[in-house]
């Protein structure tokens, strides 16, 4: 190839205006098989040699493993994170179910704390029931006062 043409191409190359074809021609001229650049231009040869060399570099078969090791992850934990998520979801579901059932069960069961199903209601008439409750309250109240009186008497 003519020295003048290469020089022009190089000039274009420094300006980053070369096309892909022109760049290929340049690298062909400097580092292609049987390249014999003009002595005036040999100084540029190293640049194109370097590019050609670097283009040959490819990742080795253990590339991925090395990267993962470098980042600090091995392949097994990736699966673990996955199962952890499933566990979390199911746990959340269980908790939600329990909570909901608690709220649903509560109103139905609360009266049981008070009620004793074996004992029948004594009165059908609220008026009679009220009289009995009042009577019972008065008995309890009287005894309670008796007790309090005894306590205060003892203190004196």
């Amino acid at each position: 190839m003519e020295k003048a043409m290469i020089k022009a191409l190089l000039e274009k190359y420094w300006q980053a205006e070369t096309t892909v074809e022109e760049e290929k021609a340049l690298s062909e001229y400097f580092s292609g098989p049987g390249a014999n650049p003009d002595p005036e231009l040999t100084q540029y040869r190293t640049i194109f040699d370097y590019y050609a060399e670097e283009a040959q570099v490819a990742p080795g078969p253990d590339f991925e493993a090395r990267i993962l090791r470098y980042v600090g992850i091995t392949e097994t934990p990736v699966r673990k994170i996955h199962s952890f998520r499933i566990g979390l979801t199911s746990a959340a579901a269980i908790i939600t179910a329990i909570t909901i059932s608690l709220f649903l069960l509560k109103p139905a069961n609360t009266p049981r704390i008070v009620q004793t199903p074996t004992i029948k209601e004594t009165f059908d008439d609220p008026q009679q029931a009220l009289a009995a409750v009042r009577h019972a309250l008065l008995i309890a109240s009287t005894h309670l006062n008796e007790g309090r009186k005894q306590l205060t008497d003892k203190r004196r």
């Binding site: 566990g87 004992i119 029931a129 009577h135 006062n145 005894q150």
Partner: protein, 173 residues
């Protein structure tokens, strides 16, 4: 994972705690159950349903403090007998779970014994139990609800001497 287990344990504890409340079979309930059909005993039972129906009763002659106390009650159970009062008193006392019921006051007057036990949740008294035994009989009384002891003791003092006399007469019925 730890977090999940913590949540699960918490939820399960909650579940167990609530079911144990539901499954509660209190000693006094059993005591009632045992003697409710016994002819030696007279039984009075006013359940939560009847307490709700009480609003339909005529309250005109009822003092307001009684009304307040009654409106906070949920159930009343009375069991009384004239036979072997001392024996039933002992039986009732032995059946009370001391973890549940706290002794409030015990009155001894000659041969009469009256004991008040309370079951409380937080600051509130949820049940008042009165166990009384004397020469004329044995009485077990259980009030369940929101019980205010001060109000309760005021009920009889407000009634005055006349009320007390009525009460004594009524007791002999």
């Amino acid at each position: 994972m730890k977090k999940i287990f913590r949540h699960l344990t918490f939820a399960l504890t909650l579940l167990l705690a609530t079911t144990s409340i539901f499954a509660q079979d209190d000693a006094i309930g059993k005591f009632f159950g045992k003697y409710v059909d016994d002819s030696r005993f007279s039984v009075v039972s006013v359940g939560p349903k009847m307490f709700r129906l009480l609003s339909k009763a005529n309250w005109d002659t009822i003092p307001s403090d009684v009304k307040q106390t009654v409106s906070r009650l949920q159930s009343l159970r009375i069991l009384s007998t004239e036979t072997t009062p001392a024996r039933f008193y002992e039986e009732a006392m032995s059946r009370i779970d001391r973890k549940e019921y706290e002794e409030l006051i015990t009155i001894r007057d000659n041969k009469d014994k009256v004991r008040f036990m309370i079951k409380s949740s937080g600051n509130k008294i949820s049940e008042l139990l009165m166990i009384a035994a004397g020469e004329d009989g044995f009485t077990l009384m259980s009030f369940v609800g929101d019980i205010d002891l001060d109000k309760l003791s005021r009920l009889s003092t407000d009634m005055g001497i006349k009320g007390m006399e009525n009460l004594k007469n009524a007791k002999r019925k």
